[in-house]
């Protein structure tokens, strides 16, 4: 058995927690009780039942995590796989516990010590530290294992072992009446199993029900529940529930690598190799994602399996942050691989994904994919999604009867720096690459500012996976301006209004100062941090050459940019 199994399962799925002062609780609220604690926490005096607040008062390094049924399920399966590699007759017990029938094993191993040593070695290979007890019946063996280490109870010495065993080692739950058995027995003055053994089972049964009778029998060493061997696993699975959703493939692959390594270890313990792989991701918003990855050549080479999985996911990644992962592997008996002699040497279909993966390696992990619009007031704000050919846009209904003039802007990305000559801050002449004309009409300024938090928030500190303003890939494209009437009006703005609007520009509000530009537009710093956010004044300019352009003035840099041209 594995002591503190819920903790062991968490540590197995996340080995980085191994040395931490770790505890498990159903809630992270300060007054939530701790359900289980690690050995390190126990050494510091933290106990299950304490509140998180109390435990934090003892150690500020305490890490509290939710219990992970997925990790426990995987760990329990791994435990069974490990012990099944030693004996074919295994019964699955409570999580973290398995019974092994040692009958017949003496022909292979040299006594109980060697068998238990082998069992312990196998369990350690799947990432857990076990304890083992050897006895004439299951309950007794369980109690022996609960004492820690390896304990062999010789036949005929059971009562001797039981008499001084404290009651709390039983981990008593509720009685049939729903009472807390441990509390009831403690109130009765029962401290050791020997004391319990002296009670009349019928009298105890009257008071505590069937569970009470069983306890007395157990205390007397008289329990003989039969072994109920389980069927051998036909599927190997590892699950994990992540504390935070993973949005990126790289960390996802990192997590999956550890899971695949554990699966490979379990498979090799059973003398098998990995066949087809089924991925099942739980995602934010209660969505799920399933993918079957076919493995042409079964193997336990984790690197090779991971490449296949990665390529499959890169081709069509999950649509949301992954919050839980389950990997199922169909086990195969290893056999020698043989290539087809009569087919020309051609890359298998999944080599395309490998190619994309290589492109990513060449251009940088965030630079291959598709751009899509970001939820931002900045017109050029985009994010990079994984490559997936977009489906053709549907043809709008009633296109023919709709009689609305649509003004289309050719957005220039990145915006091209231009020179704008102004009189009293009103643009009068525009000069730039292939551009040079007098302004004959203006609409604006339309101010957009915000994102002052860039540089302060968590995302900004994270690896740039979807950075839009630093995207180096130039892209020209057509953008349908969201204001359809907008383009029809620039020339209607009177000169008087233009002056009025422009007169607002030199006197920025106090907010503008906070946002990174002082009155002269010079860079400022906020509490020592670099400037952040943007302040831009957009104009639609009709030039003498007949073109209508969208330009903006960046208040942080005092520079003008050509943002788009209206067709």
């Amino acid at each position: 058995m594995v002591a503190d199994f819920s903790i062991a399962a968490i540590v197995r799925s996340n080995p980085a927690l191994a040395d931490k002062v770790l505890a498990i609780s159903r809630s992270l609220a300060p007054h939530a009780d701790l359900d289980a604690v690690s050995m390190r926490a126990r050494e510091l005096g933290i106990r299950p039942g304490m509140t998180i607040a109390q435990a934090r008062a003892i150690s500020s390094d305490l890490v509290v995590v939710h219990r992970s049924p997925a990790a426990e399920s995987s760990a329990h399966s791994a435990l069974l796989d490990a012990v099944e590699s030693v004996s074919p007759v295994v019964e699955s017990g409570a999580p973290g516990c398995a019974w092994v029938d040692l009958a017949g094993l003496h022909r292979i191993y040299n006594g109980e010590e060697e068998i238990t040593a082998e069992l312990l070695r196998c369990v350690r290979r799947v990432g857990m530290e076990p304890a083992a007890g050897v006895a004439a019946n299951k309950e007794l063996a369980h109690l022996a294992a609960r004492c820690g280490g390896v304990r062999v109870i010789e036949a005929g010495r059971e009562r001797e072992f039981l008499n001084w065993l404290p009651l709390d080692i039983l981990g008593l739950g509720k009685s049939d009446r729903g009472d807390d058995l441990e509390t009831t027995l403690a109130r009765w003055g029962m401290r050791r199993l020997g004391e319990l053994a002296r009670l009349n089972p019928d009298a105890v049964g009257t008071r505590l029900g069937r569970r009470g009778v069983e306890l007395v029998r157990l205390a007397r060493g008289g329990s003989h529940a039969p072994m109920m061997p389980r069927r051998r696993a036909e599927l190997f699975a590892e699950s994990i529930e992540l504390e935070y959703g993973i949005e990126l493939l790289e960390p996802l692959a990192f997590v999956m690598r550890a899971m695949l390594e554990r699966l490979a270890e379990r498979l090799s313990l059973r003398g098998m190799v990995a066949g087809d792989i089924t991925l099942a991701f739980g995602m934010s918003g209660h969505r799920s994602f399933n993918r079957r990855v076919e493995v042409a050549a079964p193997s336990n080479d984790v690197r090779a399996i991971l490449t296949l999985v990665n390529l499959s996911l890169e081709a069509s990644p999950p649509e949301a942050a992954v919050e839980s992962i389950r990997i199922e592997i169909a086990p195969r008996v290893p056999r020698p691989a043989q290539t087809d002699m009569f087919l020309p040497p051609a890359p298998p279909p999944d080599k395309l994904q490998t190619t994309i993966a290589r492109l990513s390696a060449l251009c940088g992990p965030g630079n291959v994919g598709m751009l899509s619009a970001e939820n931002s007031h900045r017109p050029e704000a985009t994010r990079l999604d994984a490559f997936s050919p977009p489906s053709p846009p549907p043809i709008p209904e009633n296109t023919l009867v709709k009689n609305v003039t649509q003004l289309v802007i050719r957005a220039i990305r990145p915006a091209r720096e231009i020179e704008v000559m102004c009189t009293r801050e009103i643009p009068e002449f525009v000069r730039g690459e292939n551009l040079g004309a007098r302004v004959i009409s203006i609409a604006g300024p339309w101010r957009r500012d915000g994102e002052w938090w860039l540089g302060f928030t968590a995302k900004a500190n994270a690896p740039a996976n979807s950075s839009d303003n630093t995207n180096p890939a130039p892209k020209h494209g057509l953008e349908l301006h969201d204001g359809r009437m907008f383009g029809a009006h620039p020339r209607q703005v009177s000169a008087e209004n233009l002056k009025a609007l422009s007169s607002l520009m030199p006197a920025p509000s106090p907010t503008q100062h906070l946002n990174g530009a002082n009155g002269n537009g010079a860079r400022t710093e906020i509490n020592g941090a670099n400037k952040c956010g943007f302040i831009r004044d957009y104009y639609e300019l009709a030039l003498e050459d007949g073109g209508v352009y969208r330009v903006f003035r960046d208040a942080n840099s005092h520079k003008w940019f050509l943002d788009g041209a209206y067709d």
Binding site: R56, W446, G450, T457, P510, A529
Partner: protein, 1056 residues
């Protein structure tokens, strides 16, 4: 340029998470920008109106009252109240939407009428029908992106019909479309459509700016938006405003923006000139008291006062008293306040008729009329209290009478009486504006900045870890001490935002006891809302706002000790045959004062804390006024102001009595030259700085005001200037200023201290003379006071009270009195059996009254407790009367058939077959603690005493005889841990053993070194240097050790 602009559309932070500036900030900014008037209209309420009114008034601008109303399709209309009638309609309309019953006629499962369900906070909606009923005459501005017209235009629908309807609702001259220009192209497109609509429908246009903050709060506004939408700044995207233009702009800026539509700017001024209503003109009237024929309020008050006076002074009314009463009645008459006194008297009468103890506290105790009317219990004449502190002609404001009532049911009965008397819409509780505290601010801001939940949790908890911090400790210091890099940009941003958000209202709560009443329906004066508590209605303003606007407030406050006193009196009458009249207790009982001088005050109101106990032997109280000083002196105000030691030194003649300035001698003579009470500080300000009565009153209110920091700063400047004029400067001036400003934190007025001292004296009197009844009452009213019931029981036992254990054959649900050997003894009540429901406890009481129980099985069959309850009774030893030892009882109880319908119900189990060993005495004591939280048997430390003696460890009693400065060891159960904010990180631990209590003082360094042990140990062994000063014993502890026992140790009261 047209500079006629008046801002008509603005929202403050009282639009809860939709505005970022306080009304004060908006008013100050408006004045700075040169506005002569400005409107404030918060969402679905007038929450910020009183504060805006006060701020606008002091800034010299005229307030215009408005509100942004949410309609049932979630669109919003903005309205302004031009006159009082329309204001009252607006209040009523908002009230109706807030108080709309969503389940009219619904029935509960049992067939009774279900409790009304009201809209959730922020979910109230106003229908067009309600607008038709109440909207006529209100000025409506129907522009902006949220208006129903704009929403229809955006959807491509034709709004002309709606336009016509709204026009007919508000009236042709009152319906406007307001255009806003925030340099947003989309908005400009909408403006064109709105302008076209206005032109076609002949609706006038007006310019507004839809102000969301004063000028520099864009970041805060974005954060508040994220909090409202439960998202982060990263994720909020287009949910945030497109730019920072929604700040208050100058008239010139607005004129420039609307240069092409100058009439829109001019219209804003025209509208503002139509809005003449001011909040001071709400038409509030205090209700009239129904008078007997041919009586006026003044004559009737005089009759009642003299009738009461005759009873109070019992014929010993001297000329001084009569003169004082006449003086007070004269002022009351001139201020036309007789009705107010009659109404408070009416509430007090109701309480008396219903045997509810009631006592006025606060400045009302300065009044002899209040004493005569039975409102207060302090003889203001005898105490020479200053009536003008309560009421003065110069201030001309409503007095403030706070009534203390026994907590829980009695207080609720009084509150419901006021509701019944003045109607559901005639009385309401005042609100309590909840602002962000540091922890909640860190949580909310941290989330919006994208910190992970774990990080947010850790950052927020840094505040908890350093519990001894005072208000000088800012968040940066806390973060640094907590190991957080306060220089990191994200943290700096968080700190900046946390600082800003701390003054922002978060939501509205219900004040603990403040009620307002009116002659007319209150919903004409201020919008009302349903409170979370059933049957309660709350106004949208807090008590200070109500007071500022002259709305009468009466505080009905719950006090646990009053409930205990009330419970004790009938017990004493029934079992000791003594009638206690709290109003006429022997005033100077020598035994009681001797007990107080010994600091034997566990359970005594207000003077039972460790600090009070440490002061009592130095104070040596010998008369009532000493008690008044004692109550007032151990407060953060005098402690921070460093007034405690000078007073005690002078009292014990270790220092001469000196005065900061000769002119202050008359004021400070009673307190030996040390200012201790608010009244003294007021008089000092008037004397040394030449403050008028009004200014002194302003000073007093700043002291107790939640928003006092800025006000105190201004007042300090004035104070220093005044003192400078009077030739006071340097250290003398500094001392006086420190004395006054330190009272910003919880200084007591003398009258209030006197009221509390009365209760303290009464509780001390009962503790000394009727300790059994006092203990029973205290235990029945728990939670109250400073100590756990286990400490109260042990303290009473040390004073000779026999405390009888819980027994199903004797105990009632509550603790009772029995006569043992001719003396009253306290019988523990069944309420102390952990896990026993009150219903079962009462059923045991009633079934036993019918016929005694003869066995556990009999009790089970007749009372029907569940299995856990019967086990709990057995474990608590409550079946001892059946001759059953505890384990024996548990064994038998476990075998009893619980199902009363079973054939085996009531069958007595065979008791001669119990195989369990009997409990040892220490096991019984531990079982007592586990089952009831206390023990009536030997103290836990009794069992350890032999070992402790062998190790030279002294008992608490022995410590009192040990030498000063000797090295001692002691051990005891930890009953109190305290780390007060004024103690700079020192920890105070109180240990209890079978002989008494001992105090430990732990330095901050030692606390940090032994943090875990000191916070968690149940039984503590400490050694250190003994201090015996002025009869106060304490140990400056140096070494600690936990004594572990196998069982439950009674819990300590921890104040950290």
């Amino acid at each position: 340029m047209n500079t006629d602009y008046i801002e008509l559309r603005a929202r403050s932070a009282f639009s809860f998470l939709e505005g970022a500036s306080t009304p004060e900030d908006l008013a100050a900014r408006a004045a700075e920008l040169g506005y002569g008037a400005m409107a404030l209209g918060d969402r679905d309420g007038l929450y910020g109106a009183p504060r805006f009114y006060a701020a606008a008034k002091s800034a010299g601008i005229r307030q215009i009252v408005g509100a942004e109303l949410t309609l049932d399709d979630d669109s919003r209309l903005y309205v302004l109240a031009p006159d009082r009638k329309r204001y009252q309609n607006l209040c009523r309309m908002i009230t109706n939407s807030k108080m709309r019953v969503l389940n009219p006629g619904a029935r509960a499962r049992d067939g009774s009428i279900a409790a009304p369900v009201y809209p959730a906070k922020g979910e109230s909606r106003i229908t067009l029908d309600e607008l038709e009923r109440y909207g006529r005459g209100l000025i409506c501005l129907a522009g902006g992106v949220m208006s129903p017209l704009s929403r229809m235009l955006v959807r491509g629908e034709d709004p002309r019909e709606l336009c016509r309807r709204l026009g007919s609702i508000f009236g042709a001259n009152n319906f406007y479309i307001d255009l806003q220009r925030h340099l947003d192209a989309g908005e400009e497109r909408l403006n064109r459509k709105l302008a076209a609509l206005a032109g076609a429908a002949r609706i006038p246009i007006v310019a507004t700016n839809d102000v969301c903050h004063g000028g520099s709060d864009r970041r805060l506004l974005d954060v508040l938006t994220c909090i409202r939408l439960k998202t982060t700044l990263e994720e909020a995207g287009r949910a945030l405003w497109i730019n920072s233009q929604r700040h208050l702009k100058s008239p010139a800026e607005m004129g420039a923006l609307f240069r092409d539509i100058p009439t829109a700017v001019t219209a804003s001024r025209a509208i503002s000139e139509r809005c003449n209503f001011q909040l001071c003109d709400m038409g509030y009237r205090f209700p009239d008291y129904p008078l007997p024929p041919n009586e006026t309020p003044d004559s009737y008050l005089r009759i009642l006062t003299y009738a009461g006076a005759r009873e109070r002074w019992r014929g010993a009314m001297d000329d001084r008293t009569r003169h004082q009463l006449e003086h007070e009645l004269g002022i009351i008459e001139r201020l036309k306040l007789a009705g107010y006194f009659l109404i408070v008297w009416d509430i007090v009468q109701f309480c008396r008729e219903n045997r509810i103890m009631v006592q006025g506290r606060g400045s009302a105790a300065n009044s002899a009329v209040c004493y005569a009317l039975g409102i207060t219990a302090v003889d203001a004449v005898k105490m020479e209290l200053l009536f003008e502190r309560f009421l003065s002609e110069e201030r001309g404001e409503w007095p403030d009478i706070d009534l203390d009532l026994p907590s829980r049911d009695d207080r609720e009965m009084a509150i419901q009486y006021v509701y019944r008397r003045y109607g559901e819409r005639g009385a309401a509780m005042t609100a309590n504006v909840i602002t962000y505290r540091t922890r909640s601010a860190v949580r909310e801001v941290g989330k919006t900045l994208g910190f992970s939940p774990d990080q947010v949790d850790r950052l927020a908890k840094l505040n908890q870890v350093y519990e001894f911090r005072d208000h000088h400790d800012d968040l940066v210091a806390l973060l640094k001490r907590g190991g957080v890099d306060a220089e990191a940009p994200r943290i700096m941003m968080m700190v900046e935002l946390v600082r800003k958000i701390q003054s922002v209202p978060r939501h509205l709560g219900q004040h603990s006891g403040g009620m307002v009443i009116a002659a007319q329906p209150l919903d004409e004066i201020v919008p009302l809302e349903p409170a979370a508590m059933p049957g309660r209605v709350v106004v949208q303003w807090d008590k200070d706002d109500c007071a500022d606007l002259g709305i009468i407030k009466i505080d009905l406050l719950g006090l646990g000790m009053l409930a205990a006193l009330k419970d004790a009196i009938p017990l004493i009458r029934a079992h000791e045959g003594v009638e206690i009249d709290l109003a006429h207790l022997p005033a100077d009982d020598l035994d009681v004062y001797a007990m107080l001088r010994r600091a034997d005050t566990v359970g005594v109101f207000q003077i039972e804390s460790r600090a009070q106990m440490a002061t009592l032997p130095r104070m040596k109280p010998a008369r009532f006024y000493d008690l008044v000083v004692e109550v007032a002196i151990i407060r953060p105000g005098p402690i921070v102001g460093k007034m405690v030691h000078p007073y005690l030194d002078r009292r014990n003649k270790r220092a001469p009595v000196e005065y900061p300035h000769p002119s202050l001698e008359p004021i400070l003579k009673r307190t030996l030259g040390v200012p201790l009470f608010q009244e003294q500080l007021l008089r000092m300000a008037m004397t040394v700085a030449g403050f008028s009565g009004g200014e002194a009153e302003e000073l007093r209110r700043a002291m107790g005001f939640k928003r006092s920091a800025e006000r105190m700063e201004k007042i300090e400047t004035r104070l220093r200037a005044g003192m400078f004029r009077n030739g006071l400067q340097g250290s003398v001036a500094d001392d006086i200023v420190r004395s006054i400003t330190s009272f910003a934190l919880y200084g007591f007025p003398e009258s209030h201290a006197a009221s509390f001292a009365l209760i303290a004296y009464a509780s001390a009197y009962l503790k000394y003379h009727h300790p059994a009844a006092f203990l029973a009452a205290m235990l029945n009213c728990y939670p109250l006071g400073f100590y756990h019931p286990s400490t109260l029981v042990k303290d009473a036992a040390r004073h000779g009270v026999v405390v009888l254990p819980i027994d199903v054959m004797r105990s009632n649900w509550k603790c009772t009195i029995e006569i043992v050997d001719g003396r009253p003894a306290t019988r523990m009540g069944l309420r102390y059996v952990t896990g026993l429901h009150e219903e079962i406890g009462l059923r045991i009481e009633s079934e036993r009254a019918r016929r005694q129980f003869d066995s556990i099985a009999d009790l089970t069959a007749r009372v029907g407790p569940n299995r856990r309850e019967i086990d709990a009774l057995a474990y608590a030893g409550a079946f001892a009367a059946f001759g059953l030892e505890r384990r024996n009882a548990m064994w038998n109880a476990a075998a009893v058939e619980r199902d009363p319908k079973s054939l085996l119900a009531g069958v007595k189990p065979r008791e001669n077959e119990v195989p369990l060993e009997s409990m040892s005495p220490i096991d019984e004591t531990l079982a007592d603690y586990a089952a009831t939280g206390l023990t009536t048997g030997p103290h836990l430390m009794t069992y350890l005493r032999a070992d402790l003696d062998a190790r030279g460890i002294l008992s608490a009693d022995a410590l009192t005889r040990a030498k000063h400065q000797s090295w001692v060891k002691t051990a005891g159960v930890v009953i109190v841990r305290q780390r007060p904010g004024t103690a700079k990180g020192f920890l105070f631990i109180t240990l209890e053993d079978e002989t008494g209590i001992a105090n430990l003082i732990v330095t901050p360094d030692l606390f940090q070194q032994n943090r875990l042990l000191l916070r968690s140990a149940g039984i503590l062994l400490a050694e250190g240097v003994l201090q015996q000063v002025d009869g106060v014993t304490a140990i400056r502890a140096r070494r600690f050790e936990e004594i572990k026992i196998p069982g439950t140790v009674p819990p300590s009261h921890d104040f950290h």
